[in-house]
Chain length 346, copies 2
DNA sequence: CTGTTAGCGCATTCAA
DNA sequence: TTGAATGCGCTAACAG
């Protein structure tokens, strides 16, 4: 510390008024004359005053900070969501402390504790792959700190949730593939103990059922949806007899990886195998053929998450109203699934 | 707040000892007997004590928090870098407050001020597109708060920097294209007032010079490197006469977008036009033909940034040693640039 | 409208 | 090794 911080006391002394008045002048306190307010503001600027957020937090018993726990920062969807959160939070005077669980329950628990100690005003969580329960969130409940689950959710009476209709999305994609003539559709997805994958899977099964197609266990493949997993799936597919005629992958990146690998072996897409992905990742536009996908915008979801959180923070603490929001999505049809001209955008 | 927080006073009362002793027991204070330490720790756990970070921060005059300003959270490189930062920070007991400038100087200034008020112990910055100067960082310098620039840097005596050798990378990519027979290479890049783009451009020019090829102003295109920009570039290319025989784009996403668009018009890649990108984005593996690119791993850069920052924080404040790190990169050669078999991996 | 007073919870003197 | 006392900087009561 080369220079000492300027405090409201310094300003008060310089202006020969009380620190309390300075404090009021700095904020938009109703009980302050325009004159002294201007005086204070001018002096503050001239003296290079910077408010000490900690002292203020300590006194006000709130931090204007929202804690975030996500599985991984570096996925297309999550980084979009975070970008949306940051934008909304920032423009509303909130800060974000961002943490990632790296898909492990252990780190998720650690992060929750850190954020709790940091007295975040609210918590936004997207669960890790292997989280079993939410005991680590209990302290927040006990203290009445709003908790919001986003995307990877856990149903709990005192939490808001924000998701898309994954069941419907899964149903739509599968139905679309069926409408294109697919009868033997592989489903490649993530850990089914997470709602997003479980719901999409249910949608997939329901669509088969409604179209009088059999569901087969061997058509379900679960993995981590990485590029490498995609290559492995492609090799697996090539050994199948008969080949599937459609593949529904709940990640565009993984889908693209499978496609590219299959094409190397001469498989025609969509003629032999039609493809559907999920997320509308940029890659879905760039892979060839263009990948049919579910558009599911993270940015807006992030913005909305913060918006709901802030509205909850502004309510009277005792009547916390939780909300369950289902965000819209849409099916974007590209070449990877088009085997005849008879389909329409949903 | 449904329950009141437990404080060290509550523990002290319960144990009939002083708050000071409790405070010592909770930390690893040297002057504390193992016996009372255990007593305190047990009581704390039983009572559900959670330390109040703010009070501690206020008292200790440090926050164990590092502020981060990046242009955009949601780019492949940045989210990787953030993931690396979060991991390293978290495992070292630091929190990250993450903000984005959305490529505008205005928001960057705002964010800097917020982070300053939050008394972050250190600041990591990657500059926005249109930042002209770093006056907004001055308060940090004055107060002796370590500042580290990452990737998009600004040379300043009291800042550490961490970059890759962009000049060399640009040189290598261009040389590689030349070695493949390209003689008329387009360069598509970002705002040249940012070091990363300026340096790559210089490398490009130097390579041309060294290979006795002319540099032409009309072969330089600057834009925001988005998918849409890529499509526009493709249209522009199609109108050129003669067509370029090589394109070096400093973003894989944009490069892929150009390639896809050109292929729609029947341009053969790499036969007619060879391509080189930058960043080793997943898309570079998935686009066809595979995109030759510069591998430049964000995750490690993020980890390293935090590591350096923390080591600086642990130094005595008066002898702050800044570091300038140049991280390695490598050229990954894929089909998009291969027009003969005579090249080797650099 | 402004001033006085009294903590928020913790960590560090200093003294014992 | 422990305790008492103090103040980090700010803001909310309360009083004027």
């Amino acid at each position: 510390m080369k220079e000492k911080d300027i405090t409201i006391y310094d300003i008060a002394e310089r202006l020969q008024i009380s620190p309390a008045t300075v404090s009021r002048g700095l904020k938009d306190h109703p009980a302050i004359s325009q004159k002294t307010k201007k005086l204070v503001l001018d002096a503050a600027k001239k003296m290079g005053y910077q408010s000490n957020t900690f002292a203020s937090n300590l006194r006000r018993r709130r931090t204007n900070t929202i804690g975030v726990i996500v599985p991984k920062l570096n996925s297309s969807f999550m980084s979009d969501a975070l970008a949306g959160m940051e934008k909304m939070a920032n423009s509303s005077g909130y800060n974000l402390i961002v943490t990632q669980s790296l898909e492990t329950e252990k780190k998720e628990i650690l992060n929750a504790s850190t954020l709790f100690n940091n007295r975040v005003d609210g918590l936004i969580v997207s669960l890790s792959y292997d989280t079993k329960n939410i005991n680590h969130i209990e302290p927040f409940f006990r203290k009445g700190i709003p908790v919001l689950f986003m995307d990877r959710v856990y149903e709990h009476k005192s939490c808001s949730t924000i998701v898309i209709d994954n069941h419907k999305a899964g149903y739509e994609m599968t139905s679309h593939l069926i409408s294109q003539g697919c009868q033997n559709i592989l489903h490649v997805t993530g850990n089914l103990s997470r709602n997003v994958y479980a719901d999409r899977f249910e949608g997939y099964k329901q669509a088969l059922l409604d179209h009088h197609l059999p569901y087969k266990d061997e058509n379900l493949i679960t993995n981590n949806l990485s590029l490498e997993d995609g290559e492995a799936v492609a090799r697996k597919i090539l050994e199948m007899d008969p080949l599937p005629d459609g593949v529904f992958v709940t990640s565009d990146l993984c889908a693209a990886s499978i496609m590219v690998e299959l094409k190397k072996s001469g498989v025609k897409i969509p003629e032999s195998i039609a493809f559907g992905g999920f997320n509308n990742d940029p890659v879905s536009r760039l892979v060839e053929p263009g990948l049919t996908t579910i558009n599911y915008k993270g940015f807006e979801m992030g913005e909305l998450a913060i918006k709901i959180m802030i509205s909850q923070l502004n309510q009277h603490q005792n009547i916390t109203m939780t909300q369950s929001i289902v965000l819209g999505h849409d099916l974007i049809i590209r070449q990877s699934s088009l085997r005849n001209g008879s389909d329409t955008k949903v």
